[in-house]
């Protein structure tokens, strides 16, 4: 039983993910939409981590691939079938092709120049999707299903159109609610397995070496471009998969998904949790999505109720003190959290966890030095 063993890791991980609806219940985060978001953004972040965490190339344009995945999936629902399998496959592939194109150009540069190039490409995609490309994207309103869509595969299979809008399904099983979460969760587990394999492969080692010393890699006999490009495309495909899953659980795609702030969000998630670690990005996703969905909804009365067990005076005081940080002030809390984490824990939450566990191990007098955190 060691975490070095892939099977052990995967069993543990699957158990944790699949049981999320139980253990997230006490903190009110076990409703389907948030669970889906955890899984979807989890995929987005672990994919992003393959590029940023391993090679150190900081892309500020990954939201573009997310958006392309979403649009592709919705088009698949409109033109082909409401079954999610083609949507997910097409979304991932089309994003991969798009990533190949942008990566091929952007990877001619490194450092902040690379970041700005990816940012520029993503912003162009966003602006065009919002305006000129409206026939494809339906602009600000977002691409939606309609009664009149052809859905040729469904028609061929003899599926009778419903009176209302059809729902996405996996061979008849509806993809909203908890079943949608489990679909996303299974894909997250597969995605995690892929990243685990990559992290523990010679290919992954080479990517880490590129981050450590790109120049040396070249003189050691490696052409770094194809390595970077393949990592870029893989992470772009993860983003596309995440985007198509967003469409699977909620068949609508909007341009704002491609905006630079959305790219920034995945960067923040990854760094907050711990870039380059296997589960750090997932922790980052959990924290940020929890803030966005739960903290933002707390209002004074909810706070007051939470402090109910305290004496009235103290409860009132605490309500007054904490209320600027929740509800509409959740951005403020998030900003402060970033600052605190970056100042005190540059390795993200994962560094905090390893510090605590090391401290505990020392306190408990246990032997065994962990070989230096990276």
């Amino acid at each position: 039983m060691s975490l070095k063993n892939n099977l052990v890791v995967m069993l543990l991980f699957s158990a944790i993910v699949l049981s999320a609806p139980w253990w997230l219940a006490p903190i009110g985060a076990n409703y389907p939409d948030l669970l889906q978001k955890f899984a979807i953004f989890g995929l987005f972040a672990i994919g992003f981590n393959i590029l940023f965490g391993l090679t150190g190339y900081l892309s500020f344009g990954h939201a573009a691939f997310l958006g392309v995945g979403s649009y592709t999936a919705v088009w698949s629902f409109k033109l082909l079938t409401m079954n999610v399998i083609p949507a997910v496959i097409l979304g991932t592939l089309v994003s991969g092709v798009f990533a190949l194109l942008i990566g091929w150009l952007s990877l001619r540069r490194s450092g902040i120049y690379f970041s700005i190039l990816t940012l520029a490409f993503a912003q162009m995609s966003y602006s065009l999707a919002y305006s000129v490309l409206t026939p494809i994207t339906n602009g600000e309103t977002g691409l939606q299903l309609s009664q009149q869509d052809p859905r040729v595969l469904d028609a061929m299979a003899g599926i009778v159109p419903t009176e209302g809008l059809p729902t996405t399904n996996l061979f008849g099983m509806p993809m909203s609610g908890y079943s949608g979460f489990y679909f996303c969760a299974v894909l997250l587990i597969i995605g995690f397995w892929v990243t685990l394999k990559i992290f523990r492969s010679p290919y992954g080692l080479k990517l880490t070496a590129i981050k450590s010393n790109t120049m040396r890699m070249k003189y050691t006999g490696f052409n770094t471009r194809p390595y970077l490009l393949s990592a870029f495309v893989i992470s772009g495909m993860f983003a596309g998969l995440a985007g198509s899953l967003m469409a699977v659980t909620d068949p609508l795609a909007g341009a704002e998904r491609m905006q630079w702030t959305a790219s920034g969000e995945v960067v923040l998630m990854t760094i907050l949790g711990g870039a380059g670690t296997l589960i750090g990005p997932l922790l980052g996703v959990g924290i940020i999505k929890y803030f966005e969905n739960i903290f933002s909804a707390l209002n004074d009365s909810a706070l007051r109720a939470a402090y109910d067990f305290l004496p009235a005076g103290l409860a009132d005081f605490l309500t007054t003190v904490t209320s600027p940080f929740v509800g509409e002030g959740w951005h403020l809390t998030l900003g402060l959290l970033f600052m605190l984490v970056v100042i005190f824990l540059p390795g993200g939450v994962m560094q905090g966890i390893s510090l605590i566990s090391r401290f505990l191990r020392r306190r408990l007098g246990m032997a065994g030095e962990s070989g230096g955190a990276s």
Partner: protein, 338 residues
């Protein structure tokens, strides 16, 4: 012809704002090696400096408004007006120019505090860490502003004398139609002056020479036994002042809201990179260049040929420059590669 002239004016004006923000960003990056994502927030703080002065000057007495009967409504009459009549009204009218006097020391203080309190701990950290911590700071600053001033833009007009338009066309002999707002001309002039002042300061004072030497080679200057640290603190303060003044002067053009810094942030980073990381001249040149290009791309004649070009022109230019000439217009080779 006059359409082109006026678009050049527009471009220069826009470029002035870009250049000022990019200048401060480059100062901080070139001297301290800090990628400051909170720089847009400093611009925003400057604009709200103007708003605050205006609000201070218009602190009002609440007088019951008798015309509204079905609930208690109040009219607001500024004390300055009550005390000094027309003189008071004139002082209120000049809120924005007056605010500059307050914004300069205020922003210097903010800049120095920020450098001493936060930035200096991040010199040795990665750029990603710097980006994240300053981004966090930017969010905190703008949320604080929002909590106090609200999210709605706040009108901050220029003095009445210069609220109209200047007959530029008549001046150049190009017809009456060609007018340009006085305040924008003043902004253009002011941005030119600030840029000139910054360059003169760096070029002709010993202080500036040390800073420039530090930008070229930080370690060597440190070895000379000069207290580079303190000078760099002041440089950071200077960058904050430039951003703040740019923001305060911009307030009459764009009614300030808490988010205006973020709107400028990405753009100004693109400007800095196009100009060349760490090159002050490049930042200024790129600011004006992109401003003018953006103005021309917005012309109907251009848009009818390439639809949507006005939305993407800046990014398109950035992509082309970075692919063809990665060090930017005037940057040194190899800065911040890897």
């Amino acid at each position: 012809m006059d359409a082109i002239l006026i678009q050049i004016l527009n471009g220069l004006d826009k470029g002035g704002a870009y250049a000022l923000i990019a200048l401060g960003l480059t100062l901080a990056f070139g001297t301290l090696g800090i990628v400051n994502f909170a720089h847009g927030a400093l611009f925003m703080l400057g604009a709200f400096g103007a708003v605050s002065v205006q609000q201070l000057l218009t602190i009002s007495k609440r007088v019951k408004d008798e015309s509204i009967t079905f609930f208690d409504a109040y009219k607001e009459i500024p004390y300055l007006e009550i005390w000094w009549g027309d003189t008071g009204r004139m002082i209120i009218d000049y809120a924005v120019p007056i605010s500059i006097l307050f914004v300069i020391p205020f922003m210097l203080l903010i800049g120095v505090l920020m450098e001493r309190g936060l930035i200096k701990h991040f010199y040795k950290r990665t750029h990603a860490d710097q980006i994240l911590v300053t981004f966090g700071l930017a969010i905190v600053l703008q949320e604080l502003v929002k909590a106090y001033f609200g999210a709605n833009p706040i009108p901050t007009p220029a003095p009445a004398v210069v609220s109209g338009s200047a007959p530029v066309g008549a001046f150049f002999g190009l017809g009456e139609d060609l007018v340009y707002p006085w305040w924008r001309l003043i902004y253009l002039l002011a941005s030119g002056l600030i840029i000139f002042a910054v360059f003169a300061f760096l070029k002709f004072t010993t202080f500036g020479m040390v800073v420039r030497a530090g930008m070229a080679d930080r370690e060597t200057v440190g070895l000379l036994g000069i207290n580079v640290q303190r000078r760099f603190t002041i440089v950071f303060g200077l960058a904050a002042v430039v951003a703040g003044v740019a923001g305060a002067l911009y307030a009459p053009i764009l009614p300030p809201d808490y988010h205006m810094g973020m709107d400028f942030l990405v753009l100004s980073f693109v400007v800095v990179v196009v100009g060349g990381m760490g090159s002050l001249e490049g930042a200024v040149a790129a600011g004006f260049l992109l401003g003018i290009l953006q103005s021309f791309a917005s012309m109907n004649e251009v848009k009818s040929i390439i639809p949507g070009i006005d939305q993407i022109i800046i990014y398109l230019v950035a992509v082309v420059i970075l692919l063809v000439r990665p060090r930017g217009l005037m940057g040194r080779e190899g800065v911040m590669e890897d």
